[in-house]
Assembly symmetry: C2
Homo-oligomer: 218 residues x 2
């Protein structure tokens, strides 16, 4: 696969790419910890224990760093989804695994949506299309193929793939995007591993009940 | 109801409050049209055909205008929801009407989430709590009461009200918040009335299937 070979090339850069990975990991940690994507490049370099000149070397600027971080965080999930697509599991199981994977990605990288929308802000139509093609379309396409497979073989209802895309993303990401409401409405401090598991069980069960063919119609 | 009397007071201000309403309506229109909440106060005054000094008079600053706009857009929906809560309709129907109302609010005011998150950005914990108490908690509480009523009388499954709050908001708002993907992934220009109706039917049916008690368990 093209993407995989691209990835191995990127990963084969030795010590240099280690500094690059460390910078991305430092940015990711700081964005999660501080609950904001507004982290200074010098804070990132300090956390990564890397000379701050290297930020410019690898990413040019803050925007370049944000694009690379999105790439890092989204591409693993998309590759897993594409692998899942080509297994011979039932479509129901593929869709469930997709939902679980999506929630786990948001759990690990709670800044993902902020990052995406910051990059989209004031971007030209061409740039918006490029960002969408790289970070949104692959997952949306894979999700549509799983849905269509399940509709064809009677596992799923006749759900609109476009509308379902927004339902699934929204149902999975709101818990992390709007987590301020956890504290202010439900007096719940943060999302720990136990709450992550409860959220996965809840979301996966609720969405799958809405997608799966009704028992009497199978 | 306290809120209602507060509202009548605000609405009874005569010509002055007309200018205030016109400014809010102009801000709302421009934010929808330009798909951004970054609208200058002078553009808002120009669209409202109101002297721009009045912006300062009614709202102090941009932040004040944004708070008042959120108040205007959210309070009608919350009042309707509270009225709905006290009718003797089945919980299933109340929940469906709540979902439809929520989607219609996002359809009318596509900037709602951007506005909310802009106000929350860099706000103190006290301020975050205040914003949440005014704009988030009332709807979350009403939704919980409808859910609990339906669980008690066997209409609903034993769904966690906190987790469901995020599911419903996310499933309803993502279509509007991430509508760039409509164009870039699905080649769909904007959300017209027909698409709004399809989205309502899809979302309401999918979510309700995930909440309603399973036929065999009734």
């Amino acid at each position: 696969m093209n993407k995989k070979s691209l990835k191995s090339v990127k990963k084969a850069g030795g010590p240099r790419s280690n500094a690059r990975d460390q910078l991305l990991e430092a940015a990711s940690q700081l964005m999660n910890e501080r609950d904001t994507i507004d982290i200074s490049l010098s804070d990132i370099a300090e956390r990564a224990k890397v000379n701050s000149a290297l930020v410019k070397y690898y990413f040019q600027n803050k925007n370049g760093l944000m694009m690379s971080l999105l790439e890092r965080d989204v591409s693993d999930g998309t590759e897993q989804l594409e692998t899942l697509l080509h297994t011979d599991l039932p479509a129901v199981q593929k869709m469930e695994m997709h939902i679980v994977g999506l929630i786990n990605t948001y759990y690990r990288c709670r800044y993902l949506n902020k990052l995406l929308f910051a990059l989209l802000r004031d971007s030209t139509p061409d740039r918006t299309q490029e960002i969408s093609d790289r970070f949104v379309k692959p997952a949306a396409d894979a999700q549509r193929l799983i849905l269509e497979e399940g509709i064809r073989n009677g596992e799923f209802r006749n759900v609109d793939p476009m509308l379902l895309y927004f339902t699934i993303i929204g149902a999975c990401d709101q818990f992390f995007t709007a987590h301020f409401a956890l504290k202010t409405v439900y007096n719940q401090d943060g999302i720990d591993d136990d709450l992550r598991k409860r959220f996965i069980a809840h979301t996966s069960s609720l969405l799958m009940s809405g997608i799966k063919a009704e028992p009497e119609s199978v």
